[in-house]
């Protein structure tokens, strides 16, 4: 055992949290899969359990592999990754998958394996690391706004713009995460205000165009508007239905919950194993279960702060923040949706919700964080070795 454990580097607490979340995820995922099996499958729930297990195993393989990579490599990876991400996003959007006439091209099919993959999640991680790389590069310079447009904002707006038509919430979260990261990375306030303004103007333009010429390109503008409207007016729309069911689930769960597998609302909540899994968790495990889960995420946040605080270099600090904060943010957004603090979005509960992309990207992010924390330990032992990819990143 010790032998195996010595291969595992970095913050042990983060490892523990990840493992705990992954293990706990089986309970609500298995429970809510019964409805999916009944509705879409042949009634056999074992398949869903195995699938979720495979997602997690693959996720932990990614986690392990990534955490063994020295973190400096990620600077180069992010730069190489950006064009790939653009290509993938364009390909995804061009598929033209529609839900009720609205663009819902979020997934691509991975050939041979048969898995589907949500490219915007990968784009998020890559873009965040890229921004961290950029911020590290300008740490000792005084840059003008103009100078930052091409290397920073052009890629950001491009990625966000490619995600936006099909997935508003991810685009919005990604943009806010970038803004947050840039804010923490010391980018001048004045410039940031301007960028926020540009962001708002561009979004308005997009919405107005979509409204004015509904047939020009498929988009989900109407869905967003109805979601926001239903949140503010609590109209009896489909979202209102989902929220009502989620609240019923939370209310019936009470302090101790109905017990594992005893959820009733899972039969009526359309996204019971992903978007609304938090409501199902409260229904089955009660307030106690909810607090435990929230504690795990807060603990993870705390560990991320520690890793960031102890990280030796500017890049290591920024990259931990860049990939760590979105995990926590995503988790809390998911919870906020279930309790009606936030309009309905498609955000998953990291490591708990079913769905491969979400699990793998969370593992990728955690791997990066662990790589940083592992490096710190090693740095104490030996001097920094020469990283060939550093040269590449310096060059770009």
């Amino acid at each position: 055992m010790k032998q195996y454990l010595q291969h595992i580097k970095g913050d042990k607490a983060i490892w523990a949290i990840a493992a705990l979340l992954a293990l706990l995820s089986f309970l609500p995922v298995y429970s809510s899969s019964s409805n999916l099996a009944y509705l879409y499958g042949n009634g056999n729930t074992l398949g869903y359990l195995l699938k979720h297990g495979m997602h997690l195993v693959l996720g932990f393989v990614i986690l392990y592999a990534v955490h063994r990579i020295p973190y400096n490599y990620f600077r180069a990876f992010s730069i190489i990754g950006m064009p790939i991400v653009f290509a993938l996003l364009v390909y995804t959007l061009s598929q033209g998958t529609t839900i009720d006439g609205a663009n819902a091209s979020r997934w691509i099919q991975i050939p041979l394996v048969g898995f589907t993959f949500q490219t915007s999640s990968l784009a998020m991680v890559v873009l965040m690391v890229y921004v961290a790389t950029y911020l590290t590069k300008i740490k000792d310079k005084t840059i003008s706004f103009k100078e930052s447009i091409l290397p920073l904002w052009a890629p950001v707006f491009l990625v966000v713009g490619l995600i936006l038509p099909a997935n508003f919430s991810t685009a919005a979260i990604l943009f806010s995460m970038v803004v947050l990261l840039v804010f923490m990375g010391g980018y001048p306030f004045r410039y940031l205000a301007a960028i926020l303004g540009v962001g708002v103007v561009m979004l308005s333009l997009f919405v107005l165009t979509a409204k004015a010429f509904p047939g020009v390109f498929p988009n989900r503008v109407d869905t967003w508007i109805s979601r926001v409207e239903s949140f503010t007016d609590s109209k009896d729309a489909e979202e209102g239905y989902q929220i009502e069911k989620a609240k019923i689930a939370i209310a019936t769960g009470g302090v101790a919950g109905l017990g594992p597998g005893k959820s009733v609302q899972k039969n009526f909540l359309p996204q019971s194993s992903s978007d609304f899994i938090f409501a199902i968790i409260i229904e089955e495990f009660g307030l106690i279960g909810a607090i435990l889960l929230m504690f795990l995420y807060v603990w993870l946040l705390f560990r991320i702060l520690i890793v960031a605080g102890k990280a030796s270099s500017r890049f290591s600090k920024l990259v931990v923040i860049a990939v760590g904060i979105p995990i926590i943010f995503q988790a809390f957004i998911n919870m906020a949706v279930a309790v009606e603090l936030f309009p309905v979005t498609g955000q998953t509960l990291p490591l708990i919700s079913s769905g491969g992309t979400s699990i793998w990207m969370t593992c990728l992010s955690l791997g990066i964080i662990l790589s940083v924390s592992a490096k710190r330990v090693e740095v104490k032992k030996e001097t920094d070795e020469e990283n060939p990819l550093d040269i590449l990143s310096e060059a770009v």
Partner: protein
Amino acid sequence: MAFEDKNILHRLYIIAGCLFLFVLAILVKITNIQFVEGEKYKELAKVNTTKNFVIPSNRGNVYADDGSLLAISVPKYDIRFDAVTVSAENFEKNIIPLSQALSKKFNKTVAHYESLLRNARATKNRYLLLERKISYSDYLEVKKFPLFNLGPYKGGMITEQSTVREHPIGKIAERMVGYERKDADGHYVRVGLEGAYGEYLRGRDGRRLKQRIAKGQWKPIYDENEIEPRDGYDVISTININIQDIAHHALLRQLELYEAEHGTVIVMETKTGEIKAVSNLGRTKQGTYYEKLNYAIGESHEPGSTFKVMAFMAALEDKVIDTSTVVDTGNGTHYFYGKKVSDSRKGGYGKISMGRVMEVSSNIGIAKAIEENYKDKPARFVEILQRMNLDKQLDLPIIGEGKPKIPHPSDKSGWSKNALPSMSYGYGVSLTPLQTLTFYNAIANDGVMVKPRFIRQVKAWNKEIETFGVEVINPQIASLQTIQKVQDVLKNVVEKGTGRSLYSPDFSMAGKTGTAQTEYWMKDFASNRRYISSFAGYFPAENPKYSCIVIIHKPKVSTGYYGADVAGPVFKSIAQKIYIDSPTSDVIENLEVLQASIENDFQEYYELAQKNYAAIPNVKGMSGMDAVSLLENLGLKVKVSGNGKVKAQSLPEGEKLIKGKQITLELSS
């Protein structure tokens, strides 16, 4: 740019702080949903997702005394058609064959069905009624019709099942069998046996709590039903369908003949009080009759002359008169306190004995006898009647028994000087047919008044739940002496009194006719007289087996109205039919009488057969049958010619026995 790592961390801590506040807000919101809005959402959960399903119990059956079914619950099916779900191709291909099949089954034209179906398709009717309440076997047949055999989605056949109470013997005794329905308020409308024994028949509905799941389906929450349904018990009634059938048709024939308004017949088993038949027929506007109301139990009316027996018996019991007491009935009219009473025979009966008064049903005779003896103490007379339970209801399980009325001098209203003489011939009192019959049955039963009974047993499958025995209302309504005198009088009524037209030498009956005026208080009575004709009695006159009452209201006067003419024949026909139709069982004893000669023959043969033969025996003189069996048992092939006894045998006696060898016998008688 002088931006330190320290500043990054400060900003990070601010963001982390915000996230922490965010998570606290989520927590607050959760507790808010759980505790502040909790009740509302829990209620919503209950309303939306759980439902108590009723599992209906099966109602028990009602049986006749011999186990024939009187009432049973059967499933019935309404067949409807969804004209939209069927594809155009299937519709066009099958419409003609389907119309033909429907036409053959339900006796309407093919064109009728075709236009019906086409019209439904044109108007997008998804719920076209084709046939109502068809039986299960018909339903199975219809399901196999062209188009319908494609299943509910492709074929468009909609079936709705309902449970219907069916009466295998039809309209006969419908009112007595009755029904039980729940009205909108949840109260039961209870009629007849079904209503009376609803507690047994109903059973108990089960309950099952189910939870809604996707696709609009419900799944049971627990493994077991919350309340297990219990099927209703079967009720074995005392009704005999043969007697019921006889009573029904005899009454019906007479009602039709006399165009009477309504009538009722009750047949009761003397010893046990079991009601064997109840028929209640009322007239429709079209002049046909059907089981309209339960007159037998519900209708209390002035009995008229049948009540003379009660008055007569009271006076006999009080020993103020005897059958031989002579009373002067005068010239056929007599005034009691200014009220004219007349007898049916013009000129009257003159001086006759009390027995004869009863036989000829003299109003004056009985009224005078009672008036003379009780005018000073009318209460005494009434109290004797009360001792004979005439003022009490029978306390039947069937709802709606009419109240008897026997006025008492102490009553504030309804008593006058005239009340006593009127009462003696059946006016100013009121009884239901069943109450009158119960009294007559007590006479037949030597004074033991038994309660009329409608059920024998309550069963759950073959398990007995409850058995009902004889219930005695009054162990002796009058002394045996009195009873015997009354019995003699009732017998004489049929033999030489008002009922002599009913007399038959083949079987004996005893009873009393009654012809009561009714609605005489109405203005048009003088021009439109209305009567209640009745006959109450029992048969056979000796050792009575059944008692019976027939009451026919408002027969057409021009055809006849006397009890003996209108009601009497129904009574006679029931009595006669029960005699003729009841197979008499003649037991033949000692069917196998031993005959000495046969016995001897067998003995002889038996001895011969028991011997061990080594050679051919002599069979000459034996009967052919015996010889053949004897020889064949020895292994010989026997050929026979002629019949009778053996005259000659082809192989002589004493020859060596060789199995399979042929022997020819010559027989002659």
